[in-house]
Structure formats: C-alpha cells, structure tokens
C-alpha cells in the first residue's frame, strides 16, 4: 500500500469550454502532497468537469501538473498510468466480475501480454491487502454487482489503491451512504491519504466538516474561496452562494 512518493497537484489557469459554455473558467488550484482536499460548490460549479479535465476525459487549456508531470494533452489511460485515479458519481465497478477480479484488473495495467494470457494463479499481495483495507476480505468471490451500494464505492476506492494511484480523485464517494458507511469511508480516506494525495468532490457538509483538511469552493467555474473548513465557512461570499442555502438538500 505504499505509493513510491507523495506528489501534489498544481493547476494553473484551467479552462474547459463546451460549445461556447465555459464550465471551468481559469481555475488555479494547489493541492499539497498528502492533503485531503474537498471540492465543493453548487451544481454546475464545474467540480466534476475539473476532475474530467485532470483525468483527460475532456479537453482543457492551461496547465495541470502532478508532481513534475504535465497531464494536459495526454490520453486517459496514459494519465491513469502516471498514478492518477478517479471514481465516478455512480459506482463504476464491473458488475459481472467478482470483487477479486475487479481488483486484479485494476492492479494489472502494467502487465505484459504474456501474463495476461495466463490465469491468475494466486491473489497478488497488493490485492489481498486492498481487500482487507476496504473491508471485503471475506467476500472476494462475490459478484461486484451484488454488493451493497457502499461496498461498491469501497471497491472502487480499493481499485484505485491497487492501481497504485498516488492522486485519488473521488466524485461524491459518500452519496447515498448510510451514516455508519460514511464514517467508515472517512476513516478509509484518512488511511489512504497517508501516502497519497486525495481530492474529494462532496455535497455532504457534515462529512466535509469531519474529514476535510482543506476545502476549495468553486462557483460558476471559478475558485470562490479556499482554506481550512473554518476559514471557508466564515467566508461571507461562500455563505452567500453556497452555504446560505440549506446544505442538507444540496445533493
């Protein structure tokens, strides 16, 4: 479970435009190595689009550097191989494959064709470790599609771990989770952030207060405010556009 080194994310003047609509409008963002950064903002603020741009899904201008490497302009799978992993709002696991198979595939992007052509003889160490970390060690053979919602989200995080992602971009990881599941997910985030940098998009204010180390508020494609939870909460502009509305109903 050790990333080789901790790297930070450095975004400069990021712009994403869809048919004349500017979804991300000149964002500068620095996430320190090992941080748990929460990205919040009203719907349409550009949070997911920002993650899409960082992971190569949508075209963007500006600069996104992870460690010393420029990410913009690379293919999705190349960026993934550089150690950038993400989850999606709806859990995207391979439902017809088992938990173990899901993790094994996630762990195998660097495998040779020769090793792909053969069967898995034993459970790779990093997969076994991830099974324990995400609490699914007792059900490696269960089809991912039959997991409970929260477990699917954990499986996704587990897939990022074995993928050896050193930057985790999580899109609403606790949406739809029960209270206990949120606690477990938060504890999981704290564990994995020991040797990784984590960025979380989240609407849940209670979850944010408990687990965020730093917060960035986006609004209309721009950074509105940034700092610790307390600083952001005290910012009148944030209260106006975001926290002013009842946070409980935001999702």
């Amino acid at each position: 479970m050790t990333g080789e080194r901790l790297d930070g994310l450095r975004i400069r003047d990021l712009r994403v435009t869809f048919d004349g609509f500017t979804a991300v409008d000149g964002v500068d963002l620095d996430v320190a190595p090992g941080d748990i950064r929460f990205l919040i903002g009203p719907n349409g603020a550009g949070k997911t689009t920002l993650v899409d741009a960082v992971t190569g899904l949508v075209r963007a201008t500006g600069s996104v550097r992870f460690g010393d490497t420029e990410l913009l302009g690379r293919d999705v799978h190349r960026i993934a191989r550089l150690g950038v992993g993400r989850t999606f709002q709806t859990a995207a696991v391979f439902e017809e494959l088992s938990v173990l198979q899901n993790l094994d595939i996630a762990a195998g992007a660097g495998r040779s064709w020769w090793s792909l052509a053969r069967r898995r003889r034993r459970i790779p160490d990093e997969v076994a470790e991830a099974l324990t970390t995400i609490g699914l060690a007792d059900r490696p053979d269960q089809l991912a599609g039959t997991l409970a919602h929260g477990q699917k989200q954990w499986l996704e995080i587990g897939m990022l771990l074995v993928q050896n992602a050193r930057l985790l971009l999580l899109d609403e990881p606790v949406a739809g989770m029960s209270h206990d599941e949120r606690d477990a997910t938060g504890a999981l985030l704290e564990t994995v952030s020991r040797d990784r940098t984590v960025v979380v998009i989240e609407h849940d204010m209670d979850f944010l207060r408990r687990f965020a180390r730093t917060v960035t508020v986006l609004h209309a494609g721009r950074v509105l405010s940034e700092g610790s939870v307390a600083q952001v909460q005290a910012d009148p502009r944030v209260q106006e556009v975001y926290l002013g509305v009842d946070s409980g109903t935001e999702a």
């Binding site: 293919d75 052509a117 269960q142």
Partner: protein, 416 residues
C-alpha cells in the same frame, strides 16, 4: 460452471470454497477434462459410427460453422463486439485454401479450369501465384484474415466506433467483399465461386475414406480451438475483455487502452473464422460469394445467439443446431426456413438473451452477459442469508444486513 448462485441447501464454507475458486476461476479442470473427453468421444467415435457418409460430411460442414461461432462467442459474447461480417474472414480463409487446391488440381504451370473457360487470361494473375505453394497458402488462410482484422480493428476501435455502428460497418465489409468477388469473375470465379475442387493435398476428395479424414481433421481442429478459447476466457485477458465489454471507459481510467484489448479478441475471432473457411472448402468442395456474404454472416451470429454467446460451448452447440435445423427443415419445407430462422432469432433475443445455455446452466459462470440475468436468476439471488450459497453473500438482496457486516470489516481494516 461455478456455483455462485446455485442453492445447495448447506451452510457455506467460505474458506475452502472461496479459496479454491480463486485459484481456478471458471470450471474445474477435472470437469473440463471430462467434458473434453466426452466431446472427443462423440466426435471421433460415436458420430463416425452412427452417421452415414453423407450425414458425416454434413456434420463436418457444421463443425466448420461452429469454429466461426467460437470466435464470435469471444468477440461478441465476451468482448461485446457484434461482428456481423465474419463471412469476410471465413471467405478469406476459404478462398485462400480453394485457390491453392484449384492450382494443385490444375497442375504446375496450368490455369485453373474456370479461368480457361471465361477468362481471356494467358497466364496466372500475380496475386494467385503465391498460393501455388502450400507453405504460403496454408498460413495465409489464418494470417490473411487476422491481418485484415488487425488493419480494420486498428482503424475502428481507436476511433471508438462501437455498438450498432461497428455492426453495420462489419456488415458493409461483407457486402463489399461479395461485390468485389462477383465483379472479378475472370480471376475469382464470380458468383459461382471456386467450384469442383477434386483433391486435398494429394487425396481425392471423391473418395469417402478421404472425406472421413477431412472430417477428423475438422473435428480435431474444433477441439483445439475450444481449448484455445477456454484458455483465453479464463485468462486474465479474458476477465479484462469482459471488463471492457461492460465498462470500456472505466477500463481506460484504470490505465488500459481498451482498443488493444478489443483488437486482440477481434483478430483471434477472425483467425478462427479463416481457419474454419479453409477447412470448409475440402469438406464441401466449393467456396462462393453466397457462402460469405451478409446472409451467412448473420446466420453465424444467429447460431451463437441461440446457443448462448457468453459461454464457451453455447456458440458451438448453437451453430451446429441451427445449421442442422436448416438442413432438416429445408428438406421438408423449402422456403419456410428463412422465416423460422428469423422467428427463432427474435424469440431468443427477446426472451432468452443468454441463449439455450442459460436454460441448461452451461453458462453459470462469472463474466456472463448482464442481460442474461433473467427473472428466475434474480429471484434466486434473494434467497435469505447463507441458505443457498457456497460463497458468503449474506443478504445479497437485503442491503441493510450487508452494510453492517461490510462496515465492521472496513473498520477493522482501517484501524489495522
């Protein structure tokens, strides 16, 4: 063949059961070996004894179609690529073999009979010449289709052409190939194709003994392809292929290039179709555009769909069954077959997406197609905690129960 959802009525033994199946995903090797031996006995002992020469040569033809079906099962069933144009690869293999056999029939330096008949040709076209050598022609029956599939697949998959667009494109290719063949009558035999093939590497195909030999070669090849397909499906690549089928974009975010994953399956399927075409020629004595165009290409797919596209044996049995039914019913109701075939396809797609394999449980393995989870299987999943499962899926149908258990696990994992 795993028992993930099979009610056993016993308390599960997670440690033993789970562990063992991790090491050996899919069917156990003992069971697979038994099935393989049974198949070999049927093909090599029972069929030659029970069937007349005529029926046996028909079976040889069906088995060739079954080889195409194995490939489609991989590309479509496991990889999600609806290949409606496998006739192209079947045809490339078939024509490569037929060209060699025609040249061998004609003898050194002579033109094949049809070229003398309607060609104004004085000498062999340049692209026919290499096929005089078996050392070129035989590998070409497999490598030529694979090369074409590689070229086409490289263009298509990287551009993210998929679904119906891919199906239509592959079908258009089958159309184009037929038009090309028919248009070049002087050098390809046109609509008639390459007919009246007499010999197969020195053996006269008119001799029933040699026809039997051809049958055995075909049966052996089919078994070998089944082994290859089984290895492919159970390998890590096979799991990855299913992952690409079910979530191409997700696979990309894991650091794979799905285009290469699909390309491999597509090329393998093309190679199998080419080999099938090559063996079809000595079995039937002819290859013509009518056997490789759109209609036969669709018929390949129907056999696979009927049998069960995501399984190993389903496509083979489906292809043989549909081909056999076609012969049997066309003998009795000429003209009615086409409608029946269409009806069968519609019924299977609408009511039995997993094919017949879903009925007999052939396909009860992981990685099967999502839409094969029919109502009776879903209901089985809701069997109460721990009652009917060999793996601990307690409360698979009751999220609350599972949450608690998983959570405890997550906590211990986190604090460890």
């Amino acid at each position: 063949m795993s028992t993930v959802t099979a009610p056993t009525g016993r308390t599960p033994d997670p440690a033993a059961g789970g562990r063992r199946r991790n090491l050996l995903p899919g069917a156990g090797p003992a069971r697979a070996a038994a099935g393989f031996a049974l198949g070999a006995a049927l093909l090599f002992a029972v069929a030659p004894l029970a069937l007349s020469d005529f029926r046996l040569s028909l079976l040889a033809k069906y088995l060739c179609l079954a080889m195409v079906a194995i490939g489609i099962g991989i590309a479509w069933g496991r990889g999600g690529m609806l290949t409606l144009g496998q006739g192209v690869f079947f045809g490339l293999g078939g024509y490569a073999m037929a060209m060699h056999l025609k040249l061998a029939d004609a003898g050194p330096g002579e033109l094949p009979d049809f070229m003398q008949l309607y060609g104004q040709l004085d000498e062999l076209p340049w692209w026919w010449r290499p096929f005089a050598s078996p050392w070129f022609a035989l590998p070409a029956t497999v490598l030529l289709p694979m090369a074409v599939a590689f070229g086409l697949g490289s263009l298509v998959f990287r551009r993210k052409v998929r679904g119906a667009y891919f199906a239509i494109l592959s079908q258009a290719l089958a159309m184009a190939m037929v038009i090309l063949l028919v248009g070049q009558q002087g050098t390809t035999g046109g609509t008639n194709g390459l007919t009246d093939i007499q010999g197969f590497f020195g053996y006269a195909l008119t001799d029933p003994v040699n026809q039997r030999m051809v049958y055995f070669v075909i049966a052996g090849t089919l078994l070998a392809l089944l082994l290859l397909a089984r290895q492919l499906i159970q390998s890590r690549y096979g799991e990855l292929l299913v992952a690409v089928r079910d979530g191409e974009e997700r696979v990309r975010f894991l650091g794979y290039d799905p285009a290469s994953v699909k390309l491999v399956a597509y090329v393998v399927a093309a190679g199998m179709a080419g080999l099938a075409g090559a063996l079809f020629v000595p079995a039937v004595g002819i290859i013509s555009p009518a056997m490789i165009g759109i209609v036969p290409s669709i018929e390949f797919v129907i056999g696979v769909a009927v049998g069960g596209r995501a399984t190993l044996l389903g496509p083979v049995l489906g292809a043989v069954a549909v081909a056999w039914a076609k012969t049997a019913l066309s003998e009795r109701f000429p003209g009615g077959w086409t409608y029946l075939q269409g009806l069968m396809f519609v019924l299977v797609v609408a009511f039995l997406p997993g094919g017949l394999a879903a009925l007999v449980g052939l396909g009860r393995q992981r990685g099967d197609d999502p839409d094969r989870r029919r109502w009776w299987r879903r209901r089985r999943r809701q069997v109460p905690a721990g009652v009917g499962t060999t793996v601990p899926v307690e409360g698979a149908g009751t999220p609350e129960a599972t949450d608690g258990a998983g959570l405890a696990g997550a906590r211990t994992g986190v604090t460890a």
